[in-house]
């Protein structure tokens, strides 16, 4: 452990895991490495690359939408771009990057050496580049990529205009299916790890909220993904083998696909947002220097969200001929989700209240994310209301709403997490100045981008259009400017990531004076975290200002960090 800072044993340089104090061994990130911390960084780095791809697609789309007619690109190209934008952002950016954080955070937070199934973990990761390549390759096949939206509603998605076996839609289904398999394998791993590998003394109510939310999110994956898989298999058969699951001519029903799709894909939003709730719950106590307000309720609310999320999917089908009683039922269940999420939001606000706020970039992103989330929650309740949804559903109001969730909340949370834990897992400090520029630009650009969309939607602009009536022009110009500004906002972020990792200041073990098992490890943590010396947890997390230690013999662990 006490390696001299200057000279290294050559074996250290070749080590398959990060060694504290050693220069980074880049090669390990390109191998079938079973170390969760390596896998976590692999996920995050690749996901950020795809964030750029998805953002580029978005900016081309917003370029098209600068003017009412479809004059920049052909409408078919626009349709392909928006389909791929959604798919890339969900399946190649958000799911993977959150899996990356699961990998980085869960084992150290619970004092485990690694995931329960390290090889399975690596296998699940390596499916990610595989389906990423498949999806990107679909740009190159004749006829272009899938262009029926990320919902892939049949019969449109099974039209297959060129009649080829290998077409964009086929590759899309293939990629989504592999992504599903990877996610299920990941979910099995994360759940087993959290259930079986916690440090001594870490009962359920001593578990950090991030682990609660990760467990909740992975439960949704396990319950929802199989259903999507069943739907995807049927869709693939309809597309490629002439079956009639969703073809009315053979007695099939296109509505059934929608049920299957949304049974997973609505909860999928919670798969993404729950870990972000976890980030907020971890970050606020650290930078407000206060315990998380109402820890128990916040923890349990995660599972309230899980249960409700599995019985709300029909709110995506309010206008598809769904009978009245069903619309009312699903409206009420959808609105009820506001209760557990409200509990969380109020708990965060109460955590901030009379704290000693330390406005780091991570804190700014977390606060900005919560602000945006409150807004998105309110528009979410509006969309759950059947009569309002009848007017604004499938308009830009929805686009504005879910971008406020998916970008302005979830991605803000991801940024906050990057700024918060970067030091821990790379051993280098991110530069705060650039971080604040990144935050300011991102926050302003996000509002400029997504607020006008709500307005366009209220006026009746349908989503997914490549051209629109002139009355929507102002809203679209504003949104496009916002989108381009968002693109610009990424530049300080990337600069910061690369330059800080290469030559940033060395990070101490606990730069934010945070409480948590991961902060009792050196930065970056050694391969097996605590190895054979797993601390015994003796109190609940977030004991800021309470003055009692988190683990037995805490001085010894802290002293060891001083030595290192």
């Amino acid at each position: 452990m006490s390696t001299a800072p200057i000279r290294f044993d050559p074996r250290v340089l070749r080590a398959p895991h990060p060694v504290p104090g050693a220069p980074d061994n880049w090669r390990r990130f390109f191998t079938f490495n079973t170390d969760a911390k390596v896998i976590g960084i692999q996920y995050i780095a690749l996901a950020l690359l795809f964030l750029l791809v998805g953002g580029l697609l978005a900016m081309i789309m917003r370029g098209e939408l600068l003017t009412p007619p479809a004059d920049l690109i052909d409408p078919t190209v626009y349709n392909g771009l928006y389909t791929m934008h959604g798919t890339v952002m969900l399946f190649l950016f958000l799911f993977p990057i959150l899996n990356g954080f699961n990998n980085l955070l869960i084992p150290p937070m619970i004092g485990a050496p690694d995931m329960a199934f390290p090889r399975l973990n690596a296998l699940a990761f390596w499916m990610f580049p595989l389906f990423g390549v498949i999806l990107m390759a679909s740009f190159l096949v004749p006829g272009g990529p899938a262009s029926s939206g990320w919902w892939a509603y049949p019969p449109l998605s099974t039209q297959n205009p060129l009649g080829l076996l290998v077409n964009g839609q086929f590759l899309w289904i293939l990629a989504v299916a592999i992504s599903g398999v990877s996610s299920i394998l990941g979910a099995v791993n994360f759940c087993t790890t959290i259930m079986r590998m916690r440090a001594p003394g870490m009962g359920w109510f001593r578990l950090p909220i991030f682990c609660w939310t990760a467990l909740a999110a992975q439960t949704i994956q396990l319950a929802g993904l199989p259903v999507l898989t069943a739907g995807a298999v049927m869709l693939l058969f309809d597309l490629s083998f002439g079956t009639s699951f969703f073809r009315p001519e053979g007695g099939g029903d296109p509505m059934l696909y929608q049920h299957f799709f949304w049974f997973y894909s609505h909860p999928a939003v919670y798969v993404m947002v729950l870990p972000v709730f976890g980030f907020f719950s971890e970050i606020f106590p650290v930078y407000a220097r206060k315990p998380l307000f109402g820890y128990h309720v916040v923890a349990i609310a995660s599972f309230g969200i899980v249960l409700l999320s599995l019985i709300v999917w029909v709110h995506h089908m309010f206008t598809s001929g769904t009978p009245q009683w069903m619309r009312h039922l699903f409206m009420v269940t959808t609105m009820l989700i506001a209760v557990p999420t409200g509990i969380k939001v109020f708990a965060w606000l109460a955590t901030l209240w009379r704290g000693k706020l330390w406005l780091t970039t991570a804190m700014l992103f977390a606060m900005g994310g919560v602000f945006n989330f409150i807004f998105a929650g309110i528009t979410g309740v509006m969309l759950a209301t059947v009569p309002v949804d009848v007017h604004v559903g499938n308009t830009y109001f929805v686009v504005g709403h879910f971008h406020t969730v998916i970008f302005s909340t979830i991605t803000f949370g991801v940024y906050a997490a990057i700024y918060h834990w970067f030091a821990k897992f790379t051993g280098r400090m991110l530069y705060e100045g650039l971080g604040k520029v990144h935050f300011l630009l991102t926050f302003l650009a996000a509002q400029l981008n997504f607020l006008p969309m709500h307005w366009a939607g209220l006026m009746g602009m349908p989503r997914r259009v490549a051209a629109y009536d002139p009355e929507f022009a102002l809203a679209n110009v504003l949104a496009s400017l916002g989108a381009f500004l968002l693109g610009v906002a990424t530049i300080p972020f990337l600069l910061n990531l690369v330059s800080s990792w290469v030559r940033g200041a060395r990070a101490p073990a606990n730069p934010w004076q945070a409480i948590g098992l991961e902060w009792l490890l050196p930065s970056p943590p050694p391969a097996e975290n605590f190895e054979h010396d797993v601390p015994t947890v003796i109190s609940a997390p977030y004991g800021y200002g309470l003055g009692h230690p988190l683990v037995a013999d805490q001085e010894r662990y802290e002293a060891r960090l001083q030595e290192a």
Partner: protein, 231 residues
């Protein structure tokens, strides 16, 4: 193609899971105390085996897997009750007699698998292999019977929503039976490795569990497809 979609559940998934997990830390999963309150790592610390988690992981996986079938069953029921078209023209219904015999074979193979597990538990390796082999034979018999039935049917995959449902459901289940047999073959082969059971029988238990799962699924499937024929 279909296989790559289903693959996660049948091919690399279930086949790989116990092996991948067990492969890394073959030593000593039995020393893992199952205390509540998260003490599962108590005292042992880091690198020791994670093998004791295999069964937990596998059960979680099976629970998730069962939901694919639940979704397919739900689709079948919805189609059957609401489709304006059902049986393809000229098809009256399904022949029940042979599938019933097949069903009996498959269901009783679950009992045989249980006998095998019990034998292994008593360290009667010879008997274990015998019963295990018999289970595999019964599973293979079922698959062959299924294949025979497919050959003789007057309708195909593309014949309306009924044909599609029938082939998808039986085919997807058949893939599970085949992977079950392959997994059992793997376990059989491993039983000849010296010291294979020093670390416990998690692999055999998991495959046994998988086999019972496949059987239960078939019982539901048989009831839905063959017994519930009137609309």
């Amino acid at each position: 193609m279909a296989e790559s979609l289903l693959g996660g559940s049948t091919g690399p998934g279930s086949g790989g899971l116990p092996e991948l997990a067990a492969g890394r830390h073959p030593e000593g999963p039995e020393s893992r105390p199952d205390e509540p309150g998260g003490n599962s790592l108590g005292g042992h610390g880091g690198h020791g085996g994670h093998g004791g988690h295999n069964l937990t992981g596998f059960v979680i996986f099976l629970a998730s897997e069962s939901l694919i079938f639940a979704a397919l069953f739900a689709a079948y029921i919805v189609f059957k009750r609401s489709s304006p078209l059902w049986l393809p023209p000229g098809v009256e219904g399904l022949e029940v007699r042979e599938p019933l015999i097949n069903t009996l074979v498959l269901v009783s193979s679950s009992g045989v698998a249980w006998l095998a597990e019990r034998a292994l538990h008593r360290r009667q390796l010879g008997r274990f292999r015998l019963w295990w082999l018999l289970t595999m034979a019964m599973g293979s018999w079922f698959v062959l019977g299924q294949a025979r039935e497919w050959m003789g049917l007057p309708f195909g995959l593309a014949d309306g929503v009924f044909g599609a449902c029938f082939y998808l459901l039986t085919g997807f289940h058949g893939l599970h039976v085949i992977s079950g047999v392959l997994l059992m073959a793997l376990m059989l082969w491993r039983s000849f490795q010296p010291g294979n059971y020093d670390g416990g029988e998690a692999g055999v238990t998991a495959v046994g569990l998988f086999w019972h799962f496949v059987d239960v699924i078939w019982i539901v499937l048989f009831a839905l497809l063959y017994l519930w024929q009137d609309r």
